[in-house]
């Protein structure tokens, strides 16, 4: 065990490697997506897990509230376990996968990624607000960029393509007005 500190250092102080080429990343992601469909019939996703974890918390604090809310009832009503869905292991798998890639490529670092002209505090507030909005919209559209744009895009779902254009439309439409955040 005497070598442990050395090992630790060599893992965490790895030189930061550059990101892979976007087309290469895309091909790998496409193969992962295809295999998901091929083996399980389901695509990729994550935002569904967010509401399922929410449902678990609400169910633990106030089960009667779940019974009065049809949306939560579907996931956590009665003796249903809201975490009993394929999207939950995908969610936790994605957290672990992101961590592992960061670890192997020397990108594990406590930091804030932001535009050059805003403070950390502004960035944190905006990230939080963006998260609130994004997941609100994702639940309304029944899926996010992964569950709709990516998975629905590959299966040629008409609604998913409409959602994909709406996401890009919303972001491009507002981009000019919030350019201070990023440039």
């Amino acid at each position: 065990m005497t070598t442990a500190p050395v090992t630790k250092k060599s893992i965490f102080k790895r030189p930061e490697k550059p990101y892979v080429h976007p087309y290469f990343g895309g091909v790998v992601l496409g193969i992962v997506l295809f295999l998901a469909f091929f083996l399980t019939g389901n695509g990729l996703g994550s935002s569904g897990a967010t509401s399922r974890i929410d449902a678990l918390i609400v169910d633990a604090i106030s089960p009667s509230h779940v019974d009065n809310n049809p949306y939560l009832l579907k996931m956590a009503g009665g003796d249903k376990n809201p975490l009993d869905d394929w999207i939950v292991p995908v969610f936790f798998g994605a957290l672990l996968g992101g961590f592992t890639s960061g670890l192997l490529n020397g990108r594990l670092k406590i930091m804030t990624t932001k535009g050059p002209n805003i403070s950390n505090r502004t960035r944190w507030l905006m990230a939080f607000l963006g998260g609130v909005l994004f997941l609100y919209g994702a639940r309304m559209a029944r899926g996010c960029t992964s569950g709709q744009a990516l998975s629905g895009g590959a299966t040629l779902s008409a609604g998913s393509w409409a959602i994909m254009f709406a996401i890009f439309g919303g972001a491009y439409g507002l981009a000019y007005f919030v350019r201070k955040l990023w440039n």
């Binding site: 087309y23 990343g25 895309g26 790998v28 992601l29 992962v32 091929f38 083996l39 399980t40 019939g41 967010t50 974890i53 929410d54 809310n69 949306y71 869905d85 999207i87 969610f91 936790f92 957290l95 672990l96 996968g97 992101g98 592992t100 990108r107 930091m111 804030t112 990624t113 944190w124 939080f128 607000l129 963006g130 998260g131 909005l133 994004f134 997941l135 919209g137 994702a138 639940r139 309304m140 029944r142 960029t145 992964s146 569950g147 744009a149 990516l150 590959a154 040629l156 779902s157 998913s160 254009f165 709406a166 996401i167 890009f168 439309g169 919303g170 491009y172 507002l174 919030v178 990023w182």
Partner: protein, 433 residues
């Protein structure tokens, strides 16, 4: 072997490997997003200022790669497309939700899954986006009751794919999407060169080879086409379980698999008039009565609530039946006897509508059972096979008493239940739902 594998369609405690499989899929997903640079919000936001179009490149490369492989596998007959989750179209909630997501994207700098890749590598903004996400999803659950009708109904078209929208063969749509993506990549590189001031001469040449391979694959999908109904019919497999109760022990459950032809020869898909009638009053199922006889016969006499789809038009309605929203839909086919109904059943089953059954003995048997006391209906002894075996005083359609038997009079009917509901997944089960 027919994919996807039924035991992997949903996670289940009975099969713990399913958790591992979905966990591995998620791991690969998160890993790929992180290594593509999606843990950094600046890289994502740059998409919307045209300086770096990584988001578009990764996303569309992934979409076209998966699409070409997926429809390639469908063409080769190894993947059953009707078992692949296709996000149902809820047009208006989708578009409004999409616009809100876009706003969240440009303000927050992430989308949900990229925020996981970001948070897990120590980015504080990624963690806060995730946290905000929990709040946003919670708020949606709290506010959904106020617009639940709009959310569940506005612009609902069910399972509809682009080939149906544009009325093109699916291979052609695959090819067009590939061409569109390649054009977008070309445009993205021009933008990066002009606005992002990027030196594109250092981009790897192999990407052109990749574009060529993609194009050739898409062409192959066009030319192979999709498997014929006959080929699909031969591959359909039914499972039926038999439960044998045991004293002082768990019951023994035997599972049998049958081909479609065996289901017919063992008469496992023929349901008695009594069962067909009772299905209407069974809360667990949503029976759809499909009368495949010619319109003239239908006008003479038909079961109340039946829809008339003459046999030769049954293939046209398959896409509509596939989008039949509830998972507990049961299709009950009927002709005068059984011949035409059996032919129609084969077509439906080949199209993966395996919750399809045939009315045993057809309309003639229905009349013999429910209409035996109706003196206005006289038997016609000269009727040939699959012709109406009764003489009708008038074409009353469904206004004979026996067309809509009284649920009170026939409250107690005994029959051997043949309908086995196969709940593949509920409405909210697939996709990101």
């Amino acid at each position: 072997m027919n994919f996807p594998l039924p035991e992997f369609i949903a996670v289940s405690a009975a099969n713990p490997w399913t958790y591992v499989l979905f966990g591995v899929i998620g791991f690969a997903f998160g890993f790929t997003l992180e290594m593509s640079g999606f843990g950094d919000s600046r890289k994502l936001a740059a998409q919307f200022y045209f300086t770096e179009l990584t988001v578009l490149k990764v996303m569309f490369t992934a979409i076209v790669t998966a699409m070409v492989l997926l429809f390639g596998a469908v063409s080769l007959g190894i993947l059953d497309f009707s078992q692949v989750w296709v996000n149902p179209t809820y047009l208006w909630s989708g578009i409004v939700g999409g616009l809100i997501m876009g706003i969240g994207f440009i303000i927050g700098g992430f989308c949900p899954t990229t925020s996981l890749a970001s948070a897990s590598t120590g980015k504080i903004d990624g963690m806060l986006f995730m946290l905000g996400g929990f709040v946003g999803a919670f708020l949606f659950g709290e506010t959904e009751p106020y617009f639940t009708n709009w959310y569940n109904n506005a612009g609902y078209f069910g399972r509809v794919t682009l080939d149906q929208v544009f009325n093109l063969p699916i291979g052609v749509v695959v090819l067009l999407v590939v061409l569109m993506a390649l054009f977008m990549f070309w445009g993205a590189e021009q933008l990066e060169r002009i606005i992002g001031k990027k030196d594109m001469s250092r981009e790897p040449k192999i990407r052109l080879v990749g574009a060529g391979v993609l194009f050739v694959f898409a062409l192959a999908v066009v030319f192979i086409g999709t498997p014929s109904l006959e080929e699909k019919y031969q591959k359909v497999i039914f499972t039926r379980t038999e439960t044998i109760p045991q004293e002082n022990a768990d019951p023994i459950i035997n599972t049998y698999t049958y081909s479609a032809d065996e289901m017919l020869s063992k008469r496992l898909v023929f349901i008695t008039p009594a069962e067909a009638f009772k299905a209407k009053y069974n809360q667990a199922m949503n029976p759809i009565y499909i009368d495949v006889r010619p319109e003239a016969d239908f006008n003479l006499y038909h079961i109340e609530g039946a829809i008339n789809i003459p046999e030769e038009r049954i293939e046209e309605v398959v896409p509509i039946l596939l989008t039949e929203p509830t998972a507990n839909s049961v299709f009950i086919l009927m002709s005068n006897d059984e011949t035409a109904a059996v032919r129609a059943w084969k077509k439906l089953v080949a199209s993966s509508l395996t919750n399809s059954y045939i009315l045993e003995g057809g309309i003639n048997n229905w009349i013999a059972f429910f209409g035996k006391d109706d003196e206005s209906l006289q038997p016609n002894p000269k009727a040939a096979d699959d012709q109406l075996a009764y003489i009708f005083p008038a074409a009353l359609g469904s206004r004979y008493e026996s067309c809509d038997p009284s649920p009170i009079e026939y409250e107690n009917l005994e029959f051997e239940a043949k309908i086995k509901l196969q709940l593949k997944r509920d409405k909210s089960g697939g996709g990101c739902g």
